[in-house]
Every structure is written in structure tokens, then in C-alpha cells.
């Protein structure tokens, strides 16, 4: 059995525990672990999945490049993102041209923190950091507009502390040969009640996302290969966010 120790605070801890219970030949361990999940940046003694990399200090993270450390860019493993990336990497979409993301959350959170993972998706789909950028920041709001080499472009719209109790995520990636749409609007179900019609939206499945990410983490260790995401990816995103904030 592959043993994973989890040093992450709740409620994130609960997600990791839930995900581990769904994995084959993987179990939670409090000692003698094969790997570690932690949200604390430090020189790892075990292969480590670093949770919340968006909170990391770029200098500290830069010093850790080369260490056995996979940053938790979890949105790359979200159920709604995987088909988009697969269609892109398999060439179905052709050259990526435009990525559009809307992400509106009810919880109070810094929009820049939320933007980390969405900007990471943009870097990932366009296979490079951007070469131009613009940012508009307001209270609980961030709009980021990025340009990529070869003409690609991304618009990321983030709003936090929204009224109500439903988050909303809409994403589409348009390429030269096709497009992929992952859209909460299209996935709306209707509740017709006393107050009229209410839209029901299934939020992104957090446990599945963590499980998918853990599968990659464990597979990379078992297969002795580099993980699909690394600290350089984290540093690129942090650099982009810093760059556009000053634009």
C-alpha cells in the first residue's frame, strides 16, 4: 500500500482524506509515509504535494526547484477542465486562440488568490507565459487580460464575496480547428418553486479534483517520472499576477 501523510488544515484536510479513501492501494498514514501532502513550504524529506502554492513566497519556492515537490495546481485536475485539456493536447482544437473564464464565488476570498489557478490554466493551455497583460482590480473583483506569443489571448474574470449561495464557473477554449465549452450556464438545472424558477448549478466537484491530482502525484512517484506540473509553473503564474498588477 502506498502511504500518504496529510499535514493540511481543515477544511482542505477533509477533502484530501475523502479523496484518499477512494484511491486503490493508497492509504492515509500518520507515520512511515511514502509521501506527504502539506501546505507548509520547506525542504521536503519525502516526495511532497504542496497544497495552496498560490500562498507561497516566490523566493522560497524558487530555492526549492529540483526538490521532489509537486505544487497542487488542482484546477488542472478538475472534472470540467480535463476534457478541455485532452481535446487541446490531442490536437482536436488546433492552435489555441482564446480562453475565456468567468469565476464568481460567494465566499470571501482575495480575488488574486482565486485568480492563481485560472491564470495557471491559461498558461497551461497556451504552453507558455504571456507576453502582454492588463489588469483591472476592484473591490472583490479582478479582470485579467493576457496576450500570448503566436496571438493567443485570455480573459479571466474573477468576483468574490458574491450575494447568494451558488458559485459560477464558465470556461471556453477556442482553437483554430474547434472549441471546447465547460459552462455552468449550460449545465443549469431548474427548480420551479414558490419563488419562481431558480437555477441549480452543480459546482465543480472538489473531491474528484483532489483525487485526480493525487492520482498524478502517486503515479509520478511510482513510475519515477516528473510530475505533469512543477514549481516553475507556479513561479510563472505568480510572476504573471505580479506583472499585470503593476501594468
Amino acid at each position: 500500500m502506498f502511504k500518504i501523510q496529510v499535514h493540511v488544515e481543515s477544511p482542505r484536510r477533509a477533502l484530501y482524506l475523502d479523496a484518499i479513501t477512494r484511491m486503490r492501494k493508497v492509504e492515509l498514514a500518520e507515520e512511515n509515509a511514502d509521501a506527504l501532502v502539506t501546505d507548509t513550504v520547506g525542504e521536503p524529506s519525502l516526495p511532497t504535494l504542496l497544497d495552496a502554492p498560490e500562498e507561497g513566497d516566490p523566493t522560497q519556492l524558487s530555492d526549492l526547484q529540483g526538490a521532489p515537490l509537486m505544487p497542487a495546481h488542482e484546477w488542472r485536475f478538475a472534472p470540467n477542465v480535463i476534457p478541455v485539456e485532452e481535446s487541446r493536447s490531442q490536437g482536436q482544437l488546433g492552435e489555441p486562440g482564446l480562453l475565456r473564464i468567468h469565476y464568481w464565488l460567494t465566499r470571501k476570498e482575495c480575488p488574486r488568490t482565486v485568480a492563481f489557478h485560472q491564470v495557471d490554466l491559461a498558461h497551461w493551455f497556451f504552453s507558455s507565459p504571456p507576453d502582454s497583460g492588463y489588469c483591472h482590480a476592484g473591490q472583490n473583483y479582478l479582470l485579467i487580460h493576457l496576450g500570448y506569443p503566436d496571438g493567443g489571448m485570455a480573459l479571466v474574470d474573477i468576483a468574490t464575496n458574491r450575494p447568494g449561495h451558488s458559485d459560477y464557473h464558465s470556461m471556453h477554449l477556442i482553437g483554430s480547428r474547434g472549441a471546447a465549452y465547460a459552462d455552468d450556464h449550460e449545465n443549469t438545472h431548474l427548480l420551479l418553486g414558490k419563488a419562481g424558477a431558480t437555477a441549480l448549478i452543480q459546482p465543480v466537484n472538489a473531491v474528484l479534483t483532489i483525487q485526480n491530482m493525487l492520482e498524478e502525484f502517486v503515479a509520478g512517484i511510482r513510475e519515477s517520472r516528473p510530475w505533469s506540473v512543477n514549481l516553475q509553473d507556479t513561479l510563472h503564474v505568480l510572476a504573471t499576477l505580479k506583472e499585470v498588477s503593476h501594468a
Partner: protein, 365 residues
Amino acid sequence: MPEHVYRALVLSVVKHDYLPNAVASHPRFQLVAVADDPDCPDWIHERNQLFADQNGIPYRRDVEAALPDCDLVVVSPEAERHCDLAQRAARAGKHIVVDKPLSPRLAECDALVAAVAENQVKCLVWNRNFLPSLVKARETLESGAIGTLQAIHCDFYFSKDAGPPKGSRGPGDPPIDWLERQLEAHADGSDGGVGTEPLGELQIEGIYPLAYIHMLINSPVERVFARTTAHFHQANVDNDVDDLATVTLEMANGCVGSLSIGRIGAAAHPDIGEIKLHLLGSEGSLVISEARPEVAVYARDQPPTEFRHRRIADENNYLLMENFAEALDHDKDTILNAHGARDIAATVQAALESAKSGTIIETAR
């Protein structure tokens, strides 16, 4: 007492004919003739004559001679001639319904705005602001349901092909001639960019989503940041015009907005394309699919070019002409007048400059 029926002169109808047809279908308007300048190329005369014959009205190759015998003009030539014909009508004291875009050149838009004001005529620039989804969006905003509008975003994609795909030109092949390509596109109504001057998607279609934003936010655009590219079609590459663009908009009232627009190819959507609005307010949010309501029809042996989703309850044409009739009857303003369309043209111009320079550009006010 029966309401006055306004007599409409069609000044050129060389692209899709939905504009004069929309005018003709409203009971308060009657088409009386088609007219154009005598020195136009043959293909223009042919299209004008065809429309005149289909509608049982004469075609006159003399605009100035035809102008006295009408109350208003319906201007639908190539975009590069929109303002010239409209100005001449304004100076003759005639009201104007003009197709979009107003003009690729801001100076011409300014001249038309001045002519309209000086001659106190009404001007309606064609738009889609009376689509049922936009009417609903406006009503919802005005009701206060989402509070104060803070941000507005519009996706406006047509999933149509526009000739051979990018990268298809063989070594030694000549570049695609823009006018020839547009003349070919007339068959499926995709010739909004017809003319000798190549136009990108932002110039051809940008007025529609920018008019949505203009209506809903009611504040001028002050600054833009844009990216454009020819991503899909060889004709756009060869003529150095965009078929994909993103624009961020900063409004005078502090709101922010964005537009993503493109002619993204027939393979990129199961239907005509994704047209959507996202509105963020202080008390709530609104997500609008511009095409709905619609009915979907799927059938064996359905032609691949037939759109599966059919818009229903679309009163845009009727309501636009109703709005124009009211403007004429009661000396009111139209839902999108020359000034508003001019501001939209200024936004487009600034966006193209921003895309070229990679910097934020202020719109010309």
C-alpha cells in the same frame, strides 16, 4: 385617423438584404425605389436591380434625383460607403436607417453626426438591442434585481467559415482577394465585410455586442486594452485583418467590461455560435444567452449547413422600426443614433490601436 406611412428609398443593397426587408415588413413604412450612384461596379447594379425587381419598385442610377421623393433612406451598401450616402441624405433633409458598421473611419462618422444634427434628421443605426434576451436583460437591470451594474462581459462568436483555413495557401498561390472572397460569401449571407477595404471581425460585427454594452451600461468607454489576431481564415491573414479579438473596456462611470469576438469556424460550435452576456451587479448577477428563446430541430439527412437551433419570438426588426417610427412621429431619439454608433466606432478604433501597440488606449471623445 390612420397613422402616416413613411416612404423609404433604399440607397444600395449589396450585402444581405435583411435591412430593407425589415423596413418593408413594418406597416408604417413603404419602400418606394432603390437608388445608387451610376459609376458603381456592375455587381452592385446587378444586386440593386435584383432587389428592386423582387419588390416591384424602380431602380434609379442617380441618388440625388431619387432623394426628393421619399421621407427616409435605408442605407445598405459596402461599409466604406455608409457614411457618404447617409450624409447626402441628411443634407437633403431625409431621415436615415443605416446598416452597421457605421464606418471604418472615425472622421466619416463624425461628419455624419454633424450632418444629422445640422439638418435635424433622425438616424437609426441597425442593431440587435430589441432581441428578447436583451429586452429581458434591460428590464432586469432596470428593476434593480442585480443592484448597480459593476461589470459586463460579452462573447460574440459566429461559428461560420470564411473561406479557406489559415495555412492553406500553397507556395506560389496569390493572396486571397478580399472583395472576391466577400462576393463569394454573399451566398450564405456572410458578406458583412463586402467592399474594397478589408475589415476585421471587430469592425464588421463589433457594433452588435458593443451596442448591447452601450445600452445596458449607459456610460461611454474611456479606455481599452485589446488583442487581435487572424487565427482561423487565410483571407484574414492575407488581408491583415482580425477574425478573433478580445477587448477590455473601462467606462466613464467606473464600470469595467470585456468583449471577445470572432468568426471561429463552423466546426467550433454545434450551431451558429456562442453569444452570451455576463453581468455582475452589486446585488446579483445575470447570465444571458443572446440566442434564446430557440427551438432545436434534429432530423435524419438534415443538411449540415442547416442550423439546428432556430430563434423564436424575435421581434428585433419590428421593434427597431417601431422605435424609428416613434422617433419620427414624436421627435424622439432612436435606440442607437449616429452619435452612439460613432462612439462605438471610436471604441473599435481604439481597440485596433491597442492591439497594434500592446498598450492601453483612450477612446477619441
